[in-house]
Amino acid sequence: MPTATDLVTDLPADFEVFGQAVDTRLKALQPGTTLGDLAYSSATANTNTRLPIGSNGQFLTITAGVPAWTTTPAGGKVLQVVYASTTTSTNIATTSLTSTTLTASITPSSASSKVLIIANNNIYNDTAGRGAAAAITTGATTLIHQTDGNNGGTFNLSDSRGSATIPIQYLHSPATTSSITYTIKATSIGGANVTFQNGNSPSNILLFEIGA
């Protein structure tokens, strides 16, 4: 920085030195070069760091202790929903797991996503003290089977006849981005006859992909 005495001896040269010093200091404090750039303090005194402008929809976050742009966080969000229904009347009078014809497929967008399965089953029972136990399956794998090992689980009426819409849910972690088909199956307790979608009344299923 020139002194007052210096200014008297060589004014033009001293102004040039002064101007360069000011320019260097301003550039250190305002390092932005592009519209939308941001600046934040660095570890060096009186020196800021340039954060280039992010992309559309990005959020400002902190990474390794400094500001950074990031894409929209996916955690906990519903990323997609699949709905399916069936009205195919299905009589099940067997203790073997049998498809009720209610099925739906989903292709997760991320292997870390979970799939929430919610199904509502229209069921008609015509044998007192007997019932049905519903299950959610994928391929040969049974994710949940609501049997109580006795006379029911999902549905059991002590009356001789009755119908109801019975829900079943499961939160699955498929760990894949390939298509998965979920099928509702059921067993009849004691081999009694149980009708799903009785009178072609619809049953439905919803698949929610939940971001990790």
């Binding site: 195919t88 299905t90 009078a93 067997t94 006859n193 009708t195």
Partner: protein, 79 residues
């Protein structure tokens, strides 16, 4: 109850099975002793079951009539 299911239970009491849309052609057998009943056997059993049900209904109505009751009386009682 599906008449097909009733007929199968009548002909094969221990059988375990499933089917769709009341269609005999879709019957899947999980447990079956002996041969599967044919469609004509199922149809005959259904006719017999319906006839038995009608007979039972007529007998019940006759008993009510003998007591001076009608089906409207039963409805009034919530039955």
């Amino acid at each position: 109850m599906s008449y097909i299911a009733k007929a199968i239970k009548k002909l094969k009491p221990t059988a375990e099975f499933s089917f769709n849309n009341d269609d005999y052609a879709t019957v899947h057998w999980d447990v079956l002793e002996g041969d599967a009943p044919s469609k004509s056997e199922i149809d005959s059993a259904i006719k017999q079951i319906k006839a038995d049900e009608l007979t039972q209904k007529q007998a019940a109505e006759a008993k009510f009539a003998a007591l001076g009751l009608t089906t409207d009386d039963l409805k009034a009682l919530g039955l």
